[in-house]
Subunit: 191 residues, 2 copies
DNA sequence: GTGGGCATACCGACCGGTCGGTAGGGTGGG
DNA sequence: CCCACCCTACCGACCGGTCGGTATGCCCAC
């Protein structure tokens, strides 16, 4: 449960962190943008980096839930991979700022949170990896390229999306998602 | 021409920026790590962010030169793409720290340098794009997926490489490069 | 002797975080 | 019904400390 004030602060923080970076954004800037005061911020958050962690948590939770939901559908390997990629690209496009912050400032987490976060990311990777390896074992995918490299490539594109994606660009997110999925599947099934 | 002191400063800066981030690294830390003093740093650089720009410049210059050299060989489209990818992956693996800094702190450049940098990156992208489009026009590659998406995917993997690549990992850079190139080429030629 | 290559001491701005205080809505004893 | 009490949400001036940058001068190679 998060109050309206709390969400306003997070929204402002995401926007500012994405455009200027975490360290370059002062707490004062955040509260000014959120139209609250420092007192309010430190009432809800113990420290500035709690904001970062909260942003990550929201993002990872949503992505993991998406993937789990898709896998449970029990589609073919190819369709599962396609759905995972499409949902990942579309949801990332909807949250470019969060993703940009996440990619750039991840390393600023403290030890404990970094460990927790790495575990969650590892789980995500290995689930995705499992889907591809199953497809290769079934003969549905080519085994020419190792599954872990394919996962790296897929995750790589998505994480770089904030660098070039513009909401007002020529290609809508769904189109981009389809193109990326097509390419990855062509690489998996071809040759 | 850069003096030994100048290069020591840049090397130390790259290492520290990569592990802690630009803002979280103080000028004092840099000069201590480089075993020089602030006087020396401000003798060679006008400001802290000159260091950033110098790091980018060295990276982009090297990559552009690599690509130009490969294109001049006049290989087939497939071999040209393969060589570009292999050289990109290998040289990025050799410069993980520089790439990590580049990806994470790029947005901190001031207006003028950002414009200059964007022009250089654009040139790189369009050259790569041209190679792929030529292959598609010749019928050597499939046109199923637009060339610009392929470029985005390729550059995306490389830029995310610092996140997961470890020099002491199981796969040597050349192996990784081959796998990535195989996958991209499978996507380009298949289906 | 003079200028490039530094060293050292220092400045002012700014930042994250604190802390004493307040406004206002709920609530329970009389 | 009401008022004393309290508690949550919030305010904003302020502090210790750090940081990028500068001013000044030494020193040695030419």
């Amino acid at each position: 449960m998060s109050s309206a004030t709390e969400q306003k602060i997070i929204d402002a923080a995401v926007r500012l962190f994405a455009s200027q970076g975490y360290d370059a954004t002062s707490v004062q800037e955040i509260v000014t943008a959120a139209e609250v005061t420092k007192g309010a911020l430190y009432h809800y958050f113990r420290a500035k980096d709690d904001l970062l962690f909260e942003i990550y948590r929201q993002l990872i939770t949503a992505q993991s839930a998406d993937m789990d939901r898709i896998i449970e559908l029990g589609l073919s390997s190819a369709d599962t991979v396609r759905e995972i990629l499409v949902s990942l690209v579309v949801s990332t496009a909807e949250r470019v700022d969060e993703t940009a912050v996440f990619v750039r400032e991840m390393h600023r987490l403290d030890e404990a949170r970094m460990t927790e976060f790495r575990a969650e990311r590892r789980r995500y990777h290995e689930t995705f990896l499992g889907v591809i390896e199953k497809g290769q074992a079934d003969g549905e995918f080519s085994s020419a390229v190792p599954a872990d490299t394919v996962v790296r490539i897929a995750v790589g594109v998505v994480n770089q999306l904030p660098v070039w994606y513009r909401p007002d660009g020529a290609k809508p997110p769904a189109r981009l998602a389809t193109e990326i999925a097509d390419f990855v599947l062509a690489g998996l099934t071809g040759s």
